[in-house]
Amino acid sequence: MIDLQPFWLSFKLAIITSVILFIIAVPLAYWIAYSKFRYKAVIEAILSLPLILPPSVLGFYLLVAFSPENAFGTFLDKYFDLQLVFTFEGLVVASVIYSLPFMINPILAGFKNLPPSLQEASFTLGKSKFTTLIKIILPNIRASLLTGIIMTFAHTVGEFGVVLMVGGSIPTKTKVVSIAIYDEVESMNYHNANVYALILFVFAFLILLSVHLINTNSSKTRLY
């Protein structure tokens, strides 16, 4: 019987990562889109780094940073009782960093494409920046928000290098589905590997299809 635990772990990781990233990315993208900070380009470049960095490089540095042998790892352990190496929590932190651009880029594009007059109109109607964000800006970039969430979710499910470096392959704790496939192949269980792979394949296709559907629908109904 095939073990479905890795799927459950992958989806749990993806959901938690997506929620955390959404909460981080909205204010961060808002700040990048509207602040007049001079070195914004530097920040944007740093945030996009995970896109081009090999996952193993990122995973390696995270592993080193989280290690209890080093200052940061000791600090987390001592003050927060948090061990990030070979734990599920570690996977969450690594995934948040690794998937950041997938959440932030669509949201940022949404902010930048919205006509500035919408915000200005809201201000002239006596509304605060916060009210404007919640009632006007976010509802009008719904498609970008959904794209960000779906992309982050899918990307986290498909993660391999970072997860392997930071989490290893501990069953029920850090053995997510992409790693399970690798393990099955290594022990020559091609049938199990194939089942895992096929399910992920269909899943990836459905995700991309839904992103396209969201974007075509929204471009039909959107004014701008």
């Binding site: 006509p115 919408l118 200005e120 109109a121 006007i136 109904t221 004014l223």
Partner: protein, 291 residues
């Protein structure tokens, strides 16, 4: 009473242009700002609304200071009692017509005003429609109504009538006038269109290169310039012929030859090839419709 005085360096395609504008406007009046595009008209409205900051600025509305760079006062946009009609209308696509209007209400405001405005702008039938399903003229009425919901001290209209055809323009002028009178608003209207200015404005200022070059009532301001009781044509004398006791002078202007009667004394000073100006008091001009 609005007192406005602002200076700002504007970055334009032709380089830096200093904007230096000062004017006063009495409560309840309608001021029109006229000028070439890029002369700084929109910037004036934006400074007044607080959307753009200026370097050296003093804005006072009904004895309330909105901007005073000397004392470092800059009232937040949301605290200024303004209604701003944007050139692109800026209606919120996620809200219906009615919701767009209601968004402008403050907690505890009477909702009756919304229905009153929907009626005034003849929008009752469309109140549950989303803005993207409205025509340009309808969107404009919604934007105008929304700008009035807060009963602002100043209504700012940024060239609202530039994108619509003449019929629609005429109707919308009516709506603006109705709103201006019914709610006793002080209104500032940017316009390119002289008939509109004559119809709506109590006062007009003409702006060129960031400066006010003329101000006053529309009739005073435009009387010498664009609109005149005389026809003026500039041309070149191509022929002079004696006919009985007078001379007939032919003048070429553009592609037309205009024949003008002149006396012998006058002709003595003329010669063929001379540039001349023909002016005529328009006692009996013919007006003919050209299709």
């Amino acid at each position: 009473m609005i007192r406005f005085n602002a200076n700002k360096i504007l970055q334009t395609a032709e380089g830096a242009m200093p904007l230096a504008i000062a004017f006063e406007l009495e409560q309840g009046k309608l001021l029109s700002i006229y000028g070439n595009s890029g002369a700084g008209k929109t910037t004036i409205l934006r400074i007044l609304a607080g959307l753009t900051t200026a370097e050296n600025v003093m804005i006072e509305v009904d004895n309330e200071v909105w901007d005073d760079s000397k004392n470092n006062i800059h009232l937040a946009i949301k605290k200024r009692s303004i209604g701003f009609l944007f050139q692109d209308y800026a209606l919120f696509p996620n809200l219906t017509v009615k919701e767009n209007l209601e968004y402008a209400l403050t907690k505890g405001d009477d909702k009756k005003l919304i229905n009153e405005l929907l009626e005034l702008m003849e929008l009752q039938q469309l109140q549950n429609t989303k803005p993207q399903n409205l025509s340009g003229g309808q969107q404009q009425r919604v934007a105008l109504a929304r700008a009035i919901v807060r009963k602002p001290k100043i209504l700012l209209l940024d060239e609202p009538l530039s994108a619509v055809d003449d019929d629609m323009r005429f109707k919308l002028q009516e709506y603006i006038l109705k709103a201006h009178q019914q709610y006793q608003l002080t209104t500032i209207l940017i316009s390119h269109h002289l008939p509109e200015i004559f119809r709506l404005a109590d006062k007009v200022i003409i702006i060129d290169n960031g400066k006010i070059i003329k101000e006053g009532s529309p009739t005073n301001v435009f009387s010498e310039q664009k609109i005149s009781s005389k026809f003026k044509v500039i041309g070149e004398i191509i022929d002079m012929k004696k006919s009985d006791i007078v001379y007939i002078v032919s003048v070429l202007s553009a592609n037309n030859i205009i024949k003008v009667i002149a006396t012998e004394d006058e002709v003595a000073n003329f010669k063929v090839g001379q540039k001349v100006l023909i002016a005529s008091k328009a006692f009996n001009p013919l007006i003919q419709i050209i299709s």
